[in-house]
């Protein structure tokens, strides 16, 4: 503590050195404006929650194009879906009806699954610049789901292949599936995540898809009010929200990409909630500030190390296993600290999703790959690399990625493997790894269920560049296609989970990928902010702000 205050003194000294270059403030036009009276906190003031988000700007508030944390969190407040994850807890078992009155009924017609949803009555679409408020009906729902299934109008079209939508009457929607799915796989497609969000047909048709990206119209607790580029999006309470008028009068989402500024804003009382740093040291320190609470919650984005099985010498299984034994999960974990990050032992995180493998399970199978550098060196020598070898990778400049690559570099050096890490900006890394440049790819991602994880990262169709539908299979792995497909068609949940586990055991036996840990979400808030629900896990990667959220005064 003393060291810190000395350092602060030094910092201030440095600052003064700079400031003293200017003598006493010369009178001039740009002199500091006379202090404008700080708005005093009066009860009459509207209750606006100000959220500092780690982003420079929005990308798209069309929910079917919203893929980043900052967009998902806004979309989450503006839109509803047929079903939803319970606020603050994304566990599948806790899902509840949202725009639907109840869970859908399912019947088999000619070998096809037909799901029927009854809609709530009296749900109102927000008014907008181009449309009046109007009641949401089956027509909107069908229109929205069809939009989500159209590649030109949605980033999630692939998830709605083989599905048809129809409005039976104003309050009944029927969805027909070519290939049957278990609820575990079907419900997320119509839930409040990604493509399941329901947009208001009249509004989007009146303004066009492009304009809708910065002026979204839905049915949620908050409605879009204004957007100032690079600065903020303002949402206003929806007085006609079907679960009741929100306790807050509005939400201001500010774009503040620099953590020091967000932190300063929170401590100065200019912000109520901020996106923090996923680091236990930061969390502990913020907890020490008065009036500030820190929440660490799921969902955890899983960091996995994918070995490219086509790039020598990683085509040799023993070499991949040697690399796995050289890596120390706990060392990576220490860079973030528990509980912000927690170890995982299979690509699907067992804590959040059905189908993941626990530590006990992999240990029993001898597939935990706990660090053993002596064994790693031996395996490398046996494989013909007693002096190690060289690898070259690109890494994003973003801390989350860079930290893992840099730590991996030091760890692999222990067994003589020289990893050259070239730093590029984030979107360049995403482009380059999709062009198959990296022999080792670290990927940090959240996917809503085991099928999506396994299909997109390990199905042969998803192999980068050369697959039938190139996606994110960086390992070029092709040995569990049948298991993935079998599990997808399996309607018995127990059986399905078993198949998923089998698939992942295969991955670990082949060491196609080394599961590292998941990184949870870290948000700090002023102590008087009450989200209105307990925080366990939120798919939208933010604390979840809804009609029950409030600021105590």
């Amino acid at each position: 503590m003393r060291a810190r205050s000395v350092l602060w003194l030094l910092a201030v000294l440095v600052l003064l050195l700079g400031a003293c270059a200017a003598p006493q403030q010369a009178p001039e036009g740009q002199a500091p404006a006379p202090a404008v009276e700080e708005p005093m906190e009066e009860p009459a003031e509207p209750l606006i929650l100000r959220l500092g988000q780690n982003a420079a700007d929005l990308r798209s508030l069309d929910p079917h194009f919203a893929t980043t944390t900052q967009d998902r969190s806004l979309v989450d407040m503006v839109f509803n879906a047929l079903l939803r994850y319970k606020p603050g807890n994304g566990a599948f078992e806790l899902m509840e009806p949202d725009l639907a009155e109840d869970f859908p009924t399912m019947e088999m017609v000619d070998g096809k699954q037909v799901w029927t949803f009854k809609l709530r009555q009296g749900v109102m679409c927000h008014p907008s610049e181009v449309t009046e408020a109007y009641e949401l009906t089956a027509e909107d729902v069908v229109y929205s789901l069809e939009k989500a299934a159209t590649p030109e109008r949605s980033a999630y079209a692939g998830e709605y292949n083989g599905m048809t939508f129809e409005a039976v009457d104003d309050y009944t929607v029927r969805i027909t599936l070519e290939t049957p799915l278990s609820p575990v796989l079907f419900y997320p497609k119509v839930a409040n995540y990604s493509g399941g969000m329901i947009v208001c047909k009249k509004a989007i048709e009146a303004m066009g898809d492009e304009a809708f990206k910065t002026a979204p119209v839905g049915t949620g607790p908050f409605m879009f009010a204004s957007y100032s580029p690079q600065e903020k999006v303002v949402l206003a309470a929806n007085p006609d929200y079907f679960r009741g008028r929100p306790k807050l009068d509005g939400v201001e989402m500010r774009y503040i990409p620099d953590i020091s500024s967000r932190e300063a804003g929170l401590l100065a009382g200019e912000l109520d909630v901020i996106n923090g740093i996923p680091d236990i040291a930061w969390v502990d320190r913020m907890k020490g500030e008065g009036d500030v609470q820190v929440d660490v919650f799921g969902v955890g984005e899983v960091a996995t190390v994918h070995f490219n099985m086509t790039k020598p010498p990683l085509d040799i299984p023993e070499v991949r296993k040697a690399l796995a034994y050289a890596l120390d999960r706990d060392e990576f974990l220490a860079l973030f600290g528990e509980p912000i990050a927690e170890n995982v032992y299979s690509p699907v995180p067992a804590k959040f999703l059905a189908g993941g493998l626990t530590r006990e399970e992999v240990e029993a199978l001898g597939l935990a790959y706990d660090v053993d550098r002596e064994r790693a060196r031996q395996m490398l020598a046996d494989a013909g690399f007693p002096d190690g070898f060289d690898l070259e990778v690109v890494s994003s400049e973003m801390t989350g990625y860079r930290r893992i690559y840099e730590s991996m570099q030091a760890q692999l050096a222990e067994i003589g493997v020289r990893l050259k890490v070239n730093i590029v900006d984030h979107s360049t890394m995403h482009s380059l790894i999709r062009q198959d440049v990296n022999p080792i790819v670290v990927y940090i991602a959240w996917r809503p269920n085991a099928d999506v994880y396994l299909t997109r990262f390990f199905h042969s169709d998803s192999i980068v560049v050369t697959g039938a539908k190139p996606d994110t299979n960086f390992s070029h792995y092709d040995r569990i296609d049948d298991l993935i497909e079998q599990a997808r068609g399996e309607t018995d949940p127990e059986q399905q989970i078993q198949l998923w586990k089998e698939a992942q055991i295969q991955i670990l036996e082949d060491m196609a990928a080394y599961p590292l840990h998941y990184q949870q979400q870290v948000y700090a808030r002023r102590a008087n902010v009450d989200y209105g629900h307990e925080l366990v896990s939120v798919f939208a990667l933010y604390p979840g702000i809804d009609e029950n959220t409030t600021i105590q005064r």
């Binding site: 060291a3 740093i277 220490a334 973003m398 730093i423 900006d425």
Partner: protein
């Protein structure tokens, strides 16, 4: 300015000019302090490990001035505050910051000096030619400079780096390219002013060749200004390196660089201020050293300062 006093004295006087320069320099206290600081940074850069001696014994370099290997990570003790064992604390990977600062002098010095050399040589040649020759050459050079200067310099560096990819050499090239147009403009301006001087006109009148006029008469005349600017640009180059690293496109890890260290530390400015503070001070010290030295050199190199 009397036409009898040539701007650049002829060869026989050179020795005495050098002596006189050294004499002036010795008496300039700021310059000596600057020189001492630059030498200190250079020594630290060279002797932070045994890189000079190691090849003789065919061994890997080991830390010499630095107490630890700057790439050794100790994640379980990360963010340790300064102590006797680690005078500047440990960073986010648990690496010794003091050792990293010492090694980091290498990157800053190399980027600072080499990129200014690159930009300065390009800039002086083009600026002199443009200012002296006038006409089409001037138009072409200055309009190209206008095009390049139309890019905000930091963003130009960012784009060059984005195209080239990151790394030490690329960083030097990017900053060199970034600085060159600025040099051209200033040298061009100074040349425009200087070539109106009587002694240049006189040299022309007596039929001196263009290269002779350019390099024997014009160049020495503007050299003082170039050196003063170069010292500012070394400072700028080091700061730009820090800025580009702050954006995240610095030299490749695990090579320690002050800019990258600040980027890392800025997130922790309130949690672990030592991470960003010390590299900031190191930059301050080094830049200050070059500025002081540059000021002193200016007094010495400027022919007009001999009394």
């Amino acid at each position: 300015m009397e036409s009898t006093l040539p701007a650049a004295p002829a060869a026989p006087e050179l020795r005495t000019q050098r002596q006189r320069a050294w004499h002036t320099f010795k008496r300039n206290r700021t310059a000596l302090v600057g020189l001492a600081m630059v030498v200190l940074v250079a020594l630290v850069a060279i002797f932070s490990d045994t890189v000079l001696i190691a090849p003789l014994t065919d061994a890997e370099p080991t830390p010499l001035l630095a107490p630890y290997d700057p790439t050794i990570q100790d994640p379980r003790n990360r963010l340790l505050p300064p102590s006797w064992e680690h005078p500047m604390g440990l960073d986010t990977y648990g690496r010794d910051i003091f050792s990293r600062i010492l090694y980091g002098a290498r990157v800053s010095l190399m980027v600072g000096i080499l990129s200014v050399a690159l930009g300065g040589i390009l800039g002086v040649i083009l600026g002199l030619v443009a200012g002296y020759s006038g006409g089409a050459a001037e138009q072409w050079i200055m309009r190209s400079v206008d095009v390049l200067m139309a890019f905000p310099s930091l963003l130009m560096g960012l784009m060059v780096l984005a195209v080239l990819g990151s790394g030490l050499t690329k960083m030097i090239i990017a900053i060199g390219i970034m600085l060159a147009p600025g040099f051209v403009r200033v040298v061009h301006g100074a040349t425009l002013g200087a070539k109106q001087n009587d002694y240049i006109l006189a040299a022309r009148a007596i039929g001196a060749g263009h290269p002779r006029i350019l390099f024997r008469h014009l160049l020495p005349n503007i050299l003082g200004e170039v050196v003063v600017l170069a010292s500012i640009w070394v400072a700028s180059a080091i700061r730009v390196e820090a800025s580009l690293s702050f954006i995240g496109l610095g030299v490749s890890p695990p090579t320690p660089a002050w800019g990258t260290m600040i980027r890392e530390g800025v997130q922790y400015l309130t949690t672990a201020p030592w991470i960003a503070l010390f590299p900031g001070l190191a930059i301050l010290f080094t830049v200050l050293a070059f500025n002081l030295l540059g000021d002193g050199l200016r007094d010495v190199l400027d022919p007009k300062s001999y009394q």
